[in-house]
């Protein structure tokens, strides 16, 4: 690990100011992803501003019947929240399908959204990776790309976003609230938080440098069933090969793109009266495999149809 300096932020404004004013500074929350990447020297910050104890961990109802989740709430705290369990089962199911209990007890909501890809070449510092070292090339194209994207990839990057929680939050229409370095607050939809890789896969979100996610606001739950389904190599404690969240009319896919992938074609087909299998097929018309991940196209088709079937039966309603 490269040497770095450390400070604990006294308040939210001071945290944003510290990161803005210190070269190569990063926010540190739970640390479960960032510290792992620092050990591997994939991340090499010169300064860490610890935001883990900022008073941003409350989970509370909003006036309109939604839920505001502080960005420093742990994944476990959200999954255990009585309102989340009763009204947002897709969110709870997504969270408890990610990582291990030990990781969920430490990892925060803000950090979960900003975790980085698990692409093997991003982790292998001996190999080119445009995300880790812009301009060096993509080793996953033509390489071991079983986990790669089937939607929205580019010639520069075929990595996927690993979050389960973000997939459910996107299906629920959640928004993040942030504080920017000029002191202003803003909100943006979780659906718009992450970017597709394009020519700049190292730029992963729409956040400006030094901008801090302070909370996630989930609107009132949509009518109908909610489902999160995840397919993976092990029954537990493994990243997804593909996942799907269904809530209301929303169908969102995980582990298949550089961001939670809103299945707009499937949603449109459903709205037009298509069967669940037809809706899946409509979405997959736009899928493109990379060779070793071709199985994901079949897998995603089955996941979408199965999740829609279950949601229609009212599970999670």
């Amino acid at each position: 690990m490269k040497a770095f300096t450390y400070e604990r932020a006294a308040d939210v404004a001071a945290a944003v100011k510290a990161v803005a004013e210190t070269p190569n500074a990063r926010f540190l929350a739970g640390g479960t992803n960032l510290l792992d990447l620092m050990k591997l020297e994939i991340e090499t910050p010169a300064h860490l501003v610890d935001v883990g104890r900022l008073p941003l961990s409350a989970i509370e109802p909003t006036a309109d019947g939604g839920l505001r989740i502080g960005a420093m709430a742990t994944n476990s705290q959200v999954a255990a929240d009585a309102t989340a369990r009763a009204r947002y089962p897709v969110l709870v199911e997504a969270i408890v399908s990610g990582g291990s209990a030990q990781l969920r007890n430490k990892a925060t909501v803000g950090g979960n959204l900003l975790q980085r890809t698990r692409c093997a070449y991003f982790y292998d510092t001996a190999k080119p990776c445009n995300k880790r070292q812009p301009g060096s090339g993509c080793s996953a194209i033509g390489g071991l790309n079983r986990n790669a994207a089937i939607f929205g990839a580019s010639e520069a990057c075929i990595a996927t976003h690993p979050s389960d929680m973000a997939v459910a939050l996107t299906a629920l229409g959640a928004r993040v609230e942030t504080l920017t370095t000029d002191g202003s607050s803003r909100t943006l939809a979780v659906a718009d938080l992450h970017r597709l890789p394009g020519a700049t896969p190292q730029v992963e979100t729409e956040l400006t440098p030094g901008e801090l996610i302070t909370s996630v606001v989930v609107p009132p739950p949509p009518p109908g069933g909610q489902i999160y389904r995840k397919a993976r190599d092990r029954a537990s404690y493994a990243g997804g090969l593909a996942s799907v969240a269904v809530a209301g009319g929303q169908v969102v896919l995980g582990a298949v793109a550089h961001k939670p992938w809103t299945a707009a074609q499937a949603q449109a087909a459903l709205a037009g009266g298509a069967s669940h299998a037809e809706a899946a097929k409509a979405e997959l018309a736009g899928a493109q495999d990379q060779g070793r991940n071709a199985f994901k196209i079949t897998l995603v088709g089955r996941l979408i149809a199965a999740a829609l079937d279950e949601a229609k039966q009212g599970r999670g309603a």
Partner: protein, 168 residues
């Protein structure tokens, strides 16, 4: 950097490089070798300790993040003279072979039982709004963050089930 962490009930003042993980602080600076370094990347669970009563991977946390925290390691769970019920159950059920993963397994199980008692759901939970019943499926799922290469999983399940006191 100066940091004070209460470890097994005793305040310990440390002056550490910022890079020192909580695990290395416990093992190398405080001489508490019970917590083990397996993968050092949060994948195996051998380093599991309780921080303010909650189980985490000590390898994926910096010691300086824990100033003022209360940490419980396997050395604080029980003593030879007064074993924790989980330690006794692990002996009774022969729930280990190498023993390397065992401190993490026991600390993890202590945290897991508290989580279940507070009705924290898991991926194995069928009804998210009902009280948690610690079925075998629930115990297996909740302990999936602890890996054992000797594969003493069935006897460990039996040991935890004995202490949990729930129907199989």
């Amino acid at each position: 950097m100066k940091t004070t962490i209460t470890v097994n009930g005793e305040a310990r003042a440390l002056d550490l490089d910022t890079r020192v993980t909580l695990l290395d602080a416990l093992r190398e600076h405080l001489g508490l070798k019970g917590s083990k370094k397996g993968c050092d990347h949060g994948q195996c669970g051998a380093c599991t300790v309780l921080v303010n009563g909650v189980r985490i991977n000590a390898c994926l946390s910096l010691a300086v993040m824990h100033d003022g925290d209360e940490v419980t390691t396997i050395e604080g769970i029980g003593t030879e003279a007064a074993l924790h019920p989980l330690q006794q159950a692990f002996l009774t059920q022969d729930a280990f072979q190498g023993g390397y993963c065992t401190p993490g397994q026991i600390c993890s199980a202590v945290g897991m039982l508290q989580e279940a008692a507070q009705n924290w759901p898991s991926q194995a939970t069928q009804d998210l709004t009902a009280a948690i019943a610690l079925t075998d499926a629930e115990i297996r799922e909740r302990m999936s963050g602890n890996i054992c290469r000797c594969s003493a999983y069935p006897s460990r399940l039996a040991a935890i089930r004995d202490v949990a006191g729930e129907p199989a």
